[in-house]
């Protein structure tokens, strides 16, 4: 098992290196001068003096290998450069905002898994019945409703009409834990809804598949009652692919909570990315994309390790 984790970690490290290099190359090999691209807006040409100054600032005059080494040293020492907009180190903003984004994703995943797995299992048990049809339609509908629509409607209902919860904003947990959680609830539920649909569908399909397995028949042959069979044999095995999907979805969400953060005014990493894209602040964009990609790789590693713990066969395959 340890050896498996070690090899998987090495592969992950390799992937991180690839990602960082690709982002670097994207920045430097895009046709045209990045500095000029940055400073020009639409069809208006950039001021040559400003471009020259920026080139110097970005270190674009050094040979490519020198720039690559500087870039990699920077990444290794946690220096992702300074923002164009305010000159502040990009890493500081990321360190401040990343936990907020992760918090929303984690809360949403907990809600979605907590409801989605039982719901999907129930739908599978009642496959082709009325309850299954209702659950499946609900899942399709929530998958089809874009997250910003859900967020807006949720605000309309719970904040505007019922006035149960605040419409958006952020209070640090250290200042007011209760308000923090209140503010977290709506964005987390909004993200959870589409995730819930994915997990419900996946659980249903996975349980249906496991029900056909021989070992479920063996469990029945032992004379076990229905619920222990479901718990120990069906759901436990069905969870493995569901967790894989959850991990991949969480990875996608790290870059995908943009809309939710925007709708609820949640000052997370993705919202920062939109602002950076809007201002075409290259160091910020590169820093955030790199962070997200690295997290994505790391999350895949976690998924693999958790899978190996759940299914002891996996760690034996190389």
């Amino acid at each position: 098992m340890l050896r498996y984790i070690a090899t998987r970690s090495l592969v992950a490290l390799f992937l991180v290196w690839i990602v960082v290099s690709v982002v670097f190359l994207l920045l430097h090999l895009i046709p045209g001068d990045p500095a000029e691209l940055l400073l020009s807006q639409g069809n208006v040409a950039a001021d040559p003096q400003a471009v020259a100054a920026l080139r110097e600032q970005m270190g674009l005059n050094a040979p490519l290998w020198q720039q690559y080494i500087d870039h990699m040293t920077g990444v290794l020492t946690g220096d992702l450069g300074a923002s164009f907009r305010d000159g502040a180190p990009v890493i500081e903003q990321i360190a401040l905002r990343l936990p907020r984004t992760l918090e929303v994703i984690l809360a949403a995943s907990l809600i979605a898994t907590g409801i989605g797995v039982p719901l999907g299992t129930y739908a599978a048990i009642r496959a082709d019945g009325k309850a299954d049809a209702v659950i499946s339609f609900f899942a399709s509908a929530s998958l089809s409703t874009p997250v910003f629509v859900v967020g807006s409607v949720v605000i309309l209902i719970f904040a505007q009409k019922l006035q149960w919860l605040p419409a958006g904003g952020f209070t640090p947990f250290s200042e007011d834990p209760l308000e923090h959680l209140q503010l977290l609830l709506l964005p987390a539920c909004t993200v959870a809804l589409s995730l819930l649909a994915v997990i419900t569908r996946m659980s249903r399909a996975s349980v249906l598949e496991v029900l056909q397995r021989d070992y479920v028949r063996t469990a029945r042959a032992k004379g076990l009652p229905r619920n222990p069979i479901l718990r120990r044999h069906v759901v436990r095995n069905a969870l493995i692919p569901v967790l894989t999907v959850l991990g991949l979805e969480m990875g996608t969400l790290i870059g995908g909570t943009v809309l939710v953060e925007f709708v609820f005014n949640w000052p997370g990493l993705s919202g920062y990315l939109v602002a950076a894209v809007d201002a075409r602040d290259y160091p910020e964009v590169v820093g955030i994309v790199m962070t997200i990609s690295v997290l994505f790789v790391f999350l895949n590693l976690v998924v693999d390790v958790v899978n190996a713990l759940l299914d002891p066969r996996i760690s034996l395959v190389r």
Binding site: E209, L211, D214, R217, G223, G255
Partner: protein, 618 residues
């Protein structure tokens, strides 16, 4: 028209209506999209403005339709571009493989590693907002989806005979790709297309909502929702209309995709659940009231039992008797119904199969007679694993891969006894030792995949005998094993018989050599019927049915000069011969055999045969 095709009509029609509406937008009698009417801003629905007016007094209905036009143009446009590029890459990669595969398929897959919205944002960063950058971003985003689908389909089609034939005839690869492979990959492409349109709309509307997509004053649903949010208190309906339009359209395309998929590939539709999970379902049988059994009643007496799937009979009027301590071998080719007979005794028949007639009287430990074929799920559950146990053929599949062996054995005990902690653990180790697993104290902690094939089967047997069953049904327990291991497992069964003299056993097998070694009596099944029955030695000495005789002749150790294979194969249940079911393959068959089914005859006490010519069979 099949059911799955019929289900396509609804989403198909709605999708067509949506597309037609936005296509015909310029021709429809709509209000001017950009015509402002500030005095009437936020006006509710009226005769001139069916859905009311927005924050600039513009007509909501006409903006909704024109907005749909923009969204669908971008979504469908990028879906088509991505389809063309992705299909080309997939076809090339799938057909040529090697280096071509690397630069097409694998390169495209890199895109899948990035979160989709992030990638779209990156493209917008470089190119700026607007309709065409969006189309480009979405095209890049969805190209790999098509590439993967087409790649997989191409690889499948590539190996088919008619493609190989064309290649060997020297047809130009380009021609093969376009003429032969492309039409074959169209169905999955169609499914992918509707899926991509739906998810492209999600991303497009999201970016427009952020102000990074469609640029005002071009109407778009994402933009409409964005501006409606500011006026939520005054005019909540302004938020509702574009939200409904957007979600409804995406839902339509998603449904279309789902149903296209099931219409084009009926196999993908899963079998529906498991009836045993629904105790109150229609399949539940009425519980039978137990009666006292006769003192000399056999352990199990199956009489005229039939098993059918819908109206198709798979097992017909099978009779079988097992006395305490007796081992009955159930022999026959695949499809003879021997395994189904065994499964029926434990109530483990697949959902689609039912016992349609006959009885299976079993005498319980308390001396009650119960009909195993008529017990409800709860009734048979109480017996299963306790009094009546089953050993399955493929232990690797029959053991749960994620539970330790010890837990799986312990579970079988706990299902029927209140044994906990150390006592339970001791019993488990004892059982594992009993079935010959070396070093059982350590092996209780092993997972099934950590054991050898033979040890897995031993563990399976330990599960089955955990509660000292009175009737053990072994379903081809040695078939999946190496010959040397087979012999060891047979020895284990022989030892179990010696250790528990009262235990009856049904040993399902197709191997006559095994029968000779383990069984007291043998029941030969063919095409769902019992064709011969009797004590093993007698049947082997003098078979009374041509099928049994042929089976014996086909055993290598039979001492025969040459091996005779039985010509032909078991008839399918749909095309059962009206006379004797074995007649088409039988060397003794006469006209009489094909005219009427033979009745069971008794050539000697304890022997049964279903053949007109039993006296002449050698």
């Amino acid at each position: 028209m099949s059911r799955s095709t019929r289900k396509l009509i609804l989403p198909g029609t709605i999708a067509a209506l949506i597309v037609a509406t936005v296509l015909l937008a310029p021709l429809l009698p709509l209000q001017d999209v950009r015509g402002m009417d500030i005095p009437n801003r936020f006006a509710g629905p009226s005769a001139g403005h069916w859905l009311g007016q927005d924050d600039f007094g513009r007509d909501v209905l006409s903006r909704l339709i024109w907005g749909g036009r923009a969204s669908l143009f971008i979504a469908v446009g990028s879906a088509i571009f991505a389809a063309i590029i992705g299909t080309a890459l997939g076809l090339l990669g799938g057909y040529f493989r090697g280096a071509v595969e690397l630069v097409t398929v694998r390169a495209a897959e890199i895109i899948l590693c990035l979160p989709p919205l992030l990638l779209a944002l990156l493209v917008v960063t470089i190119l700026g907002a607007g309709t065409w950058p969006l189309v480009l971003a979405l095209t890049i985003l969805y190209t790999p989806n098509y590439t993967r689908v087409v790649y997989a389909a191409t690889q499948q089609v590539r190996g088919l005979d008619f493609v190989t034939a064309q290649r060997s005839m020297g047809t130009h690869p380009m021609k093969i790709l376009v003429r032969t492979i492309l039409p074959n990959v169209l169905p999955p492409l169609l499914v992918q297309m509707s899926l991509v349109v739906a998810s492209a709309m999600v991303i497009e509307s999201g970016l427009s909502f952020l102000g990074l997509g469609v640029v005002p004053p071009t109407p778009s649903w994402g933009l409409m929702i964005r501006s409606a949010r500011g006026a939520m208190e005054v005019a909540p309906l302004l938020l509702v209309w574009p939200s409904l339009a957007l979600a409804g359209t995406i839902l339509t395309f998603n449904l279309l995709c789902d149903r296209l998929q099931s219409a084009l590939d009926p196999r993908a539709v899963t079998a529906g659940g498991a009836l045993w999970l629904r105790p109150r379902s229609a399949a539940a049988k009425k519980p039978a009231t137990p009666v006292e059994a006769d003192a000399d009643a056999p352990l199990l007496e199956i009489r005229d039992m039939s098993i059918a799937v819908r109206d198709m009979e798979l097992v017909r009027r099978v009779s079988l008797t097992v006395r305490p301590g007796e081992t009955v071998a159930l022999v026959g080719e695949s499809g003879s119904g021997k395994t189904l007979t065994g499964l029926a005794m434990t109530g483990l028949l697949p959902d689609t199969l039912r016992v349609t007639g006959g009885t299976a009287h079993y005498t319980t430990r308390e001396g009650k007679a119960v009909d195993l074929a008529k017990l409800d799920e709860e009734g048979i559950r109480a017996l299963r694993g306790d009094e009546v146990s089953m050993v399955f053929q493929d232990a690797a599949a029959a053991l749960n891969p994620v539970l330790r062996i010890g837990e799986q054995v312990a579970e079988a005990i706990r299902a029927h006894h209140d044994l906990e902690g150390d006592a339970l653990q001791t019993r488990v180790v004892e059982l594992l030792r009993h079935v010959g697993i070396p070093d059982p104290e350590q092996r209780v902690r092993a997972y099934p995949h950590e054991l050898s094939g033979g040890q897995r089967q031993r563990a399976m047997i330990a599960v089955a005998v955990a509660n000292n069953p009175r009737l053990l049904i072994a379903d081809e327990p040695t078939t999946a094993l190496d010959p040397t291991i087979q012999a060891q497992i047979l020895q284990l069964f022989a030892q179990l018989k010696r250790d528990t003299p009262g235990m009856g056993m049904i040993f399902v097998t197709h191997d006559l050599a095994v029968v000779a070694e383990i069984a007291d009596r043998v029941t030969v099944m063919y095409a769902g019927e019992v064709v011969e029955e009797g004590p093993v030695a007698e049947v082997f000495e003098r078979p009374r049915h041509p099928y049994t005789a042929a089976l014996i002749a086909s055993v290598p150790e039979g001492g025969a000069e040459r091996l005779t294979a039985i010509p032909g194969s078991v008839p399918s249940p749909r095309q059962m011969p009206s006379g004797c079911r074995f007649a088409p393959r039988c060397a003794f068959a006469t006209e009489r055999c094909t005219a009427n089914p033979p009745k069971a005859e008794h050539p000697a006490p304890g022997r049964v045969t279903r053949c007109f010519h039993w006296e002449t069979v050698t």
